[in-house]
């Protein structure tokens, strides 16, 4: 108990210092910040006694007590930012280095003028105050966990994306959160708010990466509002440094006939936790939530998702796949909740895991909670190795056993990869998968 109290007080000093440095912000932001910090102190960091954190122990990262990075530090010079930029988003991107917005690496050239893609600090001070006031923290506030509260307390770095009614954004918008490790290990708190108004279209690529290996914490929160008939396609690529910690929450609300498609790719970080919540609030809303986690030696990847069907005739599809190697661990917890009035719900969920090594461990818990009889719901989960029969088939065709195994593993991942619309992300994923497979061949 005493250590928990101590951790809180470490953030208490940092928080006061940070809050004082944010003068000039609208008063409501200060209140939001204060409220969030109070909530964080009340909650404390989660422990494995809590059902939601049963399989993921955050004590190692809590002990580190990473100080907030943005505190009065000058912008770091980084080279090679271009290698992290998706080719499709070359002229529609915002880049953040160690949590600080980097204008010289960012570009808005390909974006129509009526679309707002702005750094959060500037947006808070500027003309978009009202949009922010109406939406910021609405999905992540009281429903959020301690990490989300901490993110709100240290709110500053991040982006506001707003697409007005009927506007179709052709180029995908990339938000690149890059860590260039400095002398001290620090925490960044990226925050993104997406508001897609009626009948608009937006493709978003959210990338978390690092220029070198280091221990640091990324605590990210993304809130997405999908308006009537709007469509938001969201790719999240988590490729943090191998020693890093990544804790994130993505919360979305989808209105009538709107569609939200999320694909997450988990490659990096020693410990990662991604909390996903999609609420289908009106009839006809739909979502796809897909993901692929590729974890190797020493990695722990945890995905917790909740898809809520509140109103009739909404559809959700979820496919999560994992490939585990070395001494790694993956956790999947997928909940589908169908409210009493949500007749005509169509929900499907599946989680499949491939264990390549003897030390890998999977804990999966797909859950259905259904309070309406007029529904079509199914879920499935599997944990295992490659199919013997498929392997035999390839061997009988003269393939080398190692090659056959790699081919099947690649095929297993491909179900997720091939659905990704952007070639640059597909290429990045293919490379990561092939690297893993080649490493196995050499080992």
């Amino acid at each position: 108990m005493s250590t928990a109290v101590k951790e809180k007080s470490i953030y208490a000093d940092a928080f006061r210092e940070f809050a004082a440095s944010r003068e000039g912000e609208p008063a409501w932001v200060g209140r939001l910040r204060e409220g969030a910090f109070g909530y964080f102190e009340e909650l404390g960091f989660p422990t494995t006694d809590e059902e939601d954190w049963k399989y993921t122990n955050v004590a190692p990262l809590v002990r580190k007590a990473f100080p907030p990075a943005a505190l009065g530090r000058d912008e770091v010079e980084v080279v090679g930012v271009e290698t992290f930029v998706s080719a499709e988003a070359g002229r529609s991107r915002l880049v953040f280095v160690n949590g600080v917005y980097s204008p010289e690496h960012s570009s808005r050239e390909a974006l129509p003028p009526e679309v707002t893609v702005e750094e959060l600090g500037a947006a808070l001070a500027g003309e978009h105050g009202e949009v922010l006031w109406n939406h910021l923290g609405r999905l992540s506030g009281e429903r959020g966990n301690a990490f989300e509260a901490l993110n709100a307390a240290f709110l500053g770095g991040g982006a506001l994306l707003r697409v007005p009614k009927g506007v179709v954004v052709e180029a995908p918008v990339q938000l690149l959160f890059l860590t260039a490790p400095g002398e001290t290990e620090a925490a960044t708190f990226p925050r993104v708010l997406v508001v897609a108004e009626r009948d608009s279209r937006l493709d978003l690529i959210e990338t978390h990466a690092s220029t070198a290996d280091a221990e640091y914490l990324t605590d990210a929160v993304v809130e997405v509002f999908v308006g009537e008939g709007a469509r938001v396609t969201h790719y999240k690529v988590q490729d943090e440094a191998g020693s890093a910690y990544h804790v994130a929450a993505t919360r979305a609300e989808v209105s009538k006939d709107g569609t939200y498609d999320l694909t997450t790719v988990t490659l990096g970080a020693r410990l990662s936790r991604h909390e996903i919540e999609v609420v289908l609030t009106s009839p006809g809303a739909a979502c796809h939530v897909d993901g692929l986690y590729l974890v190797g030696d020493g990695q722990h990847a945890d995905t917790h998702s909740l898809i809520e069907h509140r109103e009739p005739d909404c559809a959700s599809r979820q496919t999560y796949k994992g490939i585990l190697d070395g001494k790694s661990r993956a956790v999947f917890n997928g909940r589908v909740y169908v409210h009493e009035g949500a007749r005509g719900t169509d929900a499907q969920q599946s989680n499949k895991n491939l264990l390549l090594s003897t030390d890998a461990r999977v804990d999966t818990k797909p859950q259905l909670e259904i309070y309406n009889d007029d529904v079509k719901c199914a879920h499935g989960a599997t944990v295992g190795q490659l199919e013997e029969e498929e392997l035999f088939y390839l061997l009988s065709r003269g393939l080398h056993p190692d090659l056959a195994r790699n081919l099947l593993t690649y095929g297993f991942a491909e179900e997720i990869v091939e659905k990704i619309r952007f070639g640059s992300i597909r290429a990045q994923l293919d490379e990561a998968i092939l690297n893993r497979l080649h490493a196995r061949l050499e080992a």
């Binding site: 059902e51 399989y55 585990l324 009493e340 007749r343 895991n353 264990l355 390549l356 090594s357 003897t358 890998a360 461990r361 999977v362 804990d363 999966t364 818990k365 797909p366 859950q367 259905l368 909670e369 259904i370 309070y371 309406n372 009889d373 007029d374 529904v375 079509k376 719901c377 199914a378 879920h379 499935g380 989960a381 599997t382 944990v383 295992g384 190795q385």
Partner: protein, 478 residues
């Protein structure tokens, strides 16, 4: 009206009370209660020690309230009678000495204790409130070396066996209700099948709660030695009272090398009225240990009664090549709540488990499957297949699935599938246009839905279970 809707439930026909003089201890629970129960049963010192150890552990524990998907008001453990036994002659050498009122009660429940009258080939241990009143076919079983008796007798006659196995599968401090049971259990059944013996008949225990103020805390222990085989059934009913009653049982199964135990339950405790008033809280711990190589434990349950059901019959698959099975039908209606499932713990190599769970929720009931499949690092080649299907009848009930899958060995294969559906208008229409009445059509569809589980039940029970489901859902279509 074309929509499927639950109208009424057939009257619970086992809801009568037997007027019989009982030996009752005062309400409340304390160390002296534990000592009093032990004294009443004339137990040896080691048994009292076992109880006291459990009681002391229980005091330190708290009710598991945060994770099950059930809700109920605080249980007042001081407002329960922990021992209530019908008064009768001290020794009951034969059935002629059993109180005729008791015999009539069991006859009315469809369990005639007179050997001539009952189903051939099923031996019955009848438990009334806190004690076993009669056990049939004891002598015939003894000739085969099979021990089948009440727990009280087992403590007296087979202390070494009881000492060796009691608490070895469910330790006294395992969970809140198991600890409570270990402290105050009053009777139950004991089965011992020696090496190489195939039990010649089905064994069964019938549990009856009669006293309004009492809880029932019984204990079952079944041991199958090397190569032994036994099939055991249990049934239960209780009168209709407005007050909730607690039933906290513990069942332990031990299977040694090549042994097989088949355990079937048809649970029909009083479920409370339509508004959820009264009914039994069925908080039960059931666990089997496949200790030996090639051993097998199979649980089959048909859960139709109780206001709240909280039970997870489990298998610890310790011996290499051992097999665990769980087949369940859980039906909830009106305000009933069920949070039930299983745990399969794979420890030995090439261990296999199968889980088939069918949940049916009607009225405004809430039915949850909660199950754990855990594969430990040493369980090379472990295999699990799980299928959980839910059927909802009417738009006010809930059906939930909470499977926990924890795999620590990469040669394991674990599969889980679940679906949720309802009786479709098309299915009903098809059957009706073939001249089948609406009610028979519903019954047909439900029985088809549960078929995979029913076929695991012993014949007599399967018929009983189908009938029971039919009764529970009678007039369900309007």
């Amino acid at each position: 009206m074309s929509t499927i809707e639950l109208l009424t439930n057939k009257e619970y026909k086992y809801g009568f009370v037997t007027d019989i003089e009982s030996d009752v201890i005062p309400k409340g629970l304390g160390e002296e209660t534990v000592r009093l129960i032990s004294e009443k049963k004339g137990e040896p010192e080691w048994m009292l020690e076992f109880r006291l150890k459990a009681y002391r552990q229980w005091l330190k524990m708290s009710e598991p309230k945060h994770w099950p998907n059930i809700s109920y008001p605080e249980v007042d453990y001081q407002d329960i009678i922990y021992y209530s036994a019908p008064k009768q002659k001290a020794t009951k050498k034969s059935l002629d000495e059993v109180d005729p009122e008791l015999l009539r009660t069991f006859e009315k429940l469809g369990i005639p204790l007179n050997e001539q009258k009952q189903l051939a080939n099923v031996a019955v241990d009848a438990v009334f409130d806190s004690v076993s009143v009669a056990t049939t076919y004891k002598e015939k079983l003894k000739a085969h070396g099979v021990v089948f008796c009440s727990f009280t007798e087992a403590i007296k006659d087979y202390p070494d066996l009881v000492k060796k196995y009691l608490g070895s599968v469910v330790p006294v401090g395992d969970n809140y209700f198991a600890a409570l049971n270990s402290a105050v259990f009053s009777d139950g059944s004991f089965v011992f099948v020696p090496k190489g013996v195939r039990c010649p008949m089905e064994l069964s225990t019938y549990f009856r709660i009669n006293n309004q103020e009492s809880g029932q805390f019984e204990r079952t222990l079944i041991v199958a030695e090397e190569g032994a085989h036994v099939s055991y059934l249990e049934g239960c009913t209780a009168p209709k009272f407005d007050k909730n009653q607690l039933h906290a049982a513990v069942v332990e199964l031990v299977a040694l090398d090549d042994a097989e135990i088949k355990y079937s339950t048809v649970q029909n405790w009083y479920a409370g009225d339509e508004e959820g008033k009264g009914g039994i809280y069925n908080f039960v711990t059931k666990r089997g240990a496949c200790r030996g190589r090639n051993s097998k434990i199979s649980w089959t349950q048909v859960e139709t009664g109780s206001a709240i059901t909280w039970k997870y019959p489990s298998c610890i698959l310790q011996g290499d090549n051992s097999i665990g099975e769980f087949y369940s039908v859980a039906l909830t209606n009106h305000a009933q709540q069920a949070d039930t499932g299983t745990k399969m713990i794979h420890i030995g190599k090439n261990t296999r488990s199968t889980i088939v769970s069918k949940g049916i929720s009607a009225g405004k009931s809430n039915n949850s499957y909660r199950g754990l499949v855990k594969v430990l690092p040493g369980a090379e080649g472990a295999r699990n297949y799980t299928q959980c299907d839910s059927m909802l009848i009417g738009g006010r009930s809930g059906a939930n699935t909470f499977p926990y899958i924890e795999v620590m060995n990469n040669s394991a294969r674990v599969e889980h599938e679940a679906t949720t559906s309802r009786i479709s208008e098309e299915q009903l229409f098809y059957l009706q246009q073939r001249g089948i009445s609406q009610e028979d059509a519903v019954s047909l569809i439900i029985n088809g839905f549960c078929k995979d589980v029913f076929r695991e039940l012993p014949m007599e029970f399967a018929v009983e279970a189908q009938r029971l489901l039919g009764l529970k859902l009678e007039n369900s279509v309007g």
